[in-house]
Each structure stands twice: as structure tokens, then as C-alpha cells.
Amino acid sequence: MALLPDKVSLLDVSSGRNVSAKIIELTPGLARTHIDRIWWHDFDARLPEKFPEDRNWPWAMLAARAEGSQDFICIGMNIVGTKEICGAMLYQTGAASFFNPTDLANEVMLLATPPTSRGLVPANLGYRGVGSALLLQATAHSYIRGLGGRVVLRAISKERTIQFYRNRGFDSHSTESDGKIRMELRPESAQSWLQKEGLV
């Protein structure tokens, strides 16, 4: 990922302090030992009966499939000085725009953070900024590949999250049969966000 900025400052919710993190290519080994065997392991007993959908997503297998690929990128957010991974994302370059299918975009296919970072356990744990930084990375990657920063994704229909996307310039396109909302960040809004974050 040498072509993109990879250093991120996150807010450690428990201490209220900023911590340094780095966006890294997720290897199958790291995903196996620091996501698949860690994220949900300690929380099973405390979670509601119906687990969140990503409880069993095999990040090690996903990372293995994306390894060395030209079009799919699997990345993780690593807390500097540790092996902790506090977020992961799989995205594709060269997907079609929802609004104009001849325009190309980066598509965020999967993104997840550990249960500690999403209020599923009743403690002030985890980090803030992970989802934002991963999404910004997909936007920056779209920009340097000449796609203008265009990003598409299928958002879970939660009002506050949808508002997050809208605040960054995403437009809603349509709603799918499972309730997910097709959203797209178009080049003008993407570049405005990249500028606001000091990347271009």
C-alpha cells in the first residue's frame, strides 16, 4: 500500500486518548490469529442469541483469496506496536457505478469491526475512527486509480449510519430486496472529503 497514506490516528474509547494505527494488507495468517480467533471469541456468552451476521465471516479465507489479486484488496487496521487488528475491509476496483454503469468505482464489499467497537458489549472499549478511515482508504484508492474517488456500497439501513454516509457526500441510489441501501460517493464529493482529510 505504499502508494497511499497508511497512518491513522484513532480515538481509544477507554482512555480517551489518540492512538496510532496503520492500514496494512491483511494476510491470511494475521487474519486467522488476530480476527477469526479473537474478535468474537471472548464475547459469545454475552451476546444476544441472534449473532450479528459477520460473526462467522472467515477473514483468513477472504484474505487468502484476495492475496496477489489485481482487482480485490483485503486490508486491516493495525494498532501500531501491537498485532491487534481493529477493523477489516474487502473492496474491489473497477466495479460499476450504480448511477451510470459505464463509470467505474471501487466497491466496498465487506467491512467489519470487532464487537467492542460497535456497542455490542456494555463497556467503553474499542476505537473510534476505524470505519471512517477504512472507507476513506477505499476512496483514496479509487482516486489514485483514476476513478475520481467514486465508491459504491450497500449500506445497512440504520438512520445514524446513513446520515454518516450522507455527511460525507454519499447519495442514495435505491433499496434492495433485503433492505440494504445502495449508496454512491461521486467524484466531486469524494475529492471534497479527501481534501477535508488533507489527502489531496
Binding site: 459477520d54 473510534r128 486509480r145 482529510e197
Partner: protein
């Protein structure tokens, strides 16, 4: 990148995108491999040329992977200038 600065306390940033169908489909797929394993610059230039067919290069018998890093970087700077891509700050 100071992402937390643009994230207000009221905002709920995304913590989950996608579903198990996407996972299944991706695991069944066979993504094509990068043509220049381990060479970030060569792969990036190759993909830029593929994504933007209007930009063409004549290598005159020289292979992209055989160019030294400085030459590849100059080539990339030229392609970026043609496509209007500004350099990314902070990398």
C-alpha cells in the same frame, strides 16, 4: 490522516458492510492475479493503463517490470498528469 477529527460524537460510523452472500460468492470466485507479483508500481501502472484505455504507452521492446523504480515513478507521474490525478499527501 486524522480521521477522528471529522467524526463528530453524534455520528455513527460504519462498523459493518456486506453480508454472508457476498462472502460465499467471493470465496467461490477466482480473482485474476496481479501480473507483476510484489511490484506495487508496475501493477499500479498496468492497472491504470487497463482502466483508462485512452492512455497508451509504447515500450519499444522494454518490459515494464524491467524498468528501475525511478523510471517507473516518472512514468506514473506522467500518467497521473495526463489523467489529472494529484499526488496523495502524507504517504
Amino acid at each position: 490522516m486524522k480521521t477522528h477529527l471529522t467524526l463528530s460524537k453524534q455520528e455513527q460510523e460504519p462498523y459493518l458492510i456486506g453480508d454472508s452472500k457476498v462472502v460465499e460468492q467471493f470465496l467461490k470466485s477466482s480473482p485474476r492475479k496481479s501480473p507483476f507479483p510484489g511490484d506495487v508500481l508496475a501493477n499500479h501502472i498496468h492497472l491504470l493503463l487497463e482502466l483508462h484505455p485512452a492512455v497508451t504507452l509504447k515500450f519499444r521492446g522494454v518490459k515494464l517490470a524491467d524498468l528501475d523504480t525511478q523510471t517507473k515513478q516518472s512514468l506514473l507521474d506522467d500518467i497521473n498528469a495526463v489523467l489529472g490525478i494529484r499526488p496523495m499527501k502524507g504517504r
